[in-house]
Symmetry: C2
Subunit: 332 residues, 2 copies
Amino acid sequence: MRDARFDVVGIGNAIVDIIGHCDEAFLVKIAATKGSMRLVDAGEIKKIYASMGPAVEISGGSVANTIAGVASFGGRAAFIGTVANDEFGKIFTHDIRSIGVTFNVPPIPDAAPTSRSLILVTPDGERTMHTFLGISTSLGETQLDLELIRDSAILYLEGYLFDEPEAKRSFRAALQTAKDAGREVALSLSDGFCVDRHRAEFLDLIRSGVDILFANEHEVKSLYQTESFELAAESASDDAKLAVLTRSGKGSIILSEGRSITISPEPVSDVVDTTGAGDLYAAGFLFGYVKGMGLEISGRLASLAASEIISHIGARPTIPLGEFARQRGVIS
Amino acid sequence: MRDARFDVVGIGNAIVDIIGHCDEAFLVKIAATKGSMRLVDAGEIKKIYASMGPAVEISGGSVANTIAGVASFGGRAAFIGTVANDEFGKIFTHDIRSIGVTFNVPPIPDAAPTSRSLILVTPDGERTMHTFLGISTSLGETQLDLELIRDSAILYLEGYLFDEPEAKRSFRAALQTAKDAGREVALSLSDGFCVDRHRAEFLDLIRSGVDILFANEHEVKSLYQTESFELAAESASDDAKLAVLTRSGKGSIILSEGRSITISPEPVSDVVDTTGAGDLYAAGFLFGYVKGMGLEISGRLASLAASEIISHIGARPTIPLGEFARQRGVIS
């Protein structure tokens, strides 16, 4: 197998986040399920936006955030996703490229606007999302740079893509390409409701070739339809070579061929916005893993990156994560 | 004179800020004068944007920030400025309305894009701006709601508008309307270079009817072409009923008919981004002043609002300022 030009290539929705604060009553008023992601159409997103308070716009997208994080650690990272030829598309493209990610999918003109997600942050720092997928639903096989996938040590896939039939087909084609090239495949389950909608297909996919599975407690319990985290974790460990499971304040667990490593969460004095916590956790883990640092160090880098992202608004790092990890003595 | 429906109406550029971090070397590379605002054209802003790091988009505009601040304190506030019928125009409109400001100028379609400012924040928190005015230069007299101006206790004008001939004419028309209606007029000098470009006209305007003059040390020294802050302050005090002069870390001075009140700066543990410090200072002062709280309390509200804005990225308040001032015991 030839050397990989990239450490990680990610495939996911290219999204700009519109982040504002709200109180618990507002979530009740708009009938939102706190902590979840709900897909909405153009009319609905307009309505919620009109009723919410002032916001800030920051590039987002679950796997895109992870890939930006890998680059911020100093990893060689690439992203595949679709934007339109509009302002939000320009913002997304600028932000991901300027952090050092290779992103060369040409914008799709005049079909639909660039995807956006309204993110409502409650005083406890928890985020609740309403996503309008727009042009993201057009991620077709023609957008897949198969050479890039073959040239990347790890292919990282976003569970949210399962909500779009065309993207799902691309997803499977990308996975097959990576496996054929002898690369590893990582998958994020993304969201508990997303797992609910596509449980059988997710299980089939994981069993057919996912090496690294990222999930939080809610998602993995939903996947295996059990109330017991321990049972769910055991099943995940049977199905994937590596199961990396996050449990918010309780830290995370990495399960690898019978071994179980518990990673403590990095203390954060003030949780401002949890948007991207799981995404940046994955960034730290994938960076450490692909650089051969071992599961323990990879887990610590994961926790460190998550702690940085929840200490400010938005899901993209505001400091170079590689430097941050060196300052904290996790890497030298 | 009838009661005013609004406490403050502001006229200024309707801008979306694109805020990113950079080091001192980057400012040298793009030949920027640290701490200043420079007007750039469409080509130049594209070039700088392409070379800068990841950014966030947040509604801005100097007087718009002040007006948002007045509303955040609980004041009745309105804004006049022009946006295009594009994404940035929608962002600006949403953000200013959702904080409680009356903003009813219809977007101008297909002429030029909504104004934007690239704001580069150095590690010391200082901001350096490159502004593409776009549609803002089209602020004509037809956009002026004269009834709204007559109906507002204070008209607040942005010095930056002096850079645009059509806006300058609107500026004078608005001022005359306010004076004829027996209202007070406040002016922000905005920027030292802006004062350099239009010194004679600024002086003429101030002497012909500005009641409250806001300026920082650099601006007021530039206005009176002196290196002595004391001499400049004395001249400002002669020319305007109230001169409100800010001196960054040294606090501020309010000069009123022979009286001089010194206001200490509010301590801030971590200066993140000074964008909007002067704008929010003006918001606190104008709110206290229009509510008849006296110059001392007005000055303290001003410092408090400035301290909130420099503790985070962006020039719009992230917490309700009225509540913040009550928590701090400045108002009851």
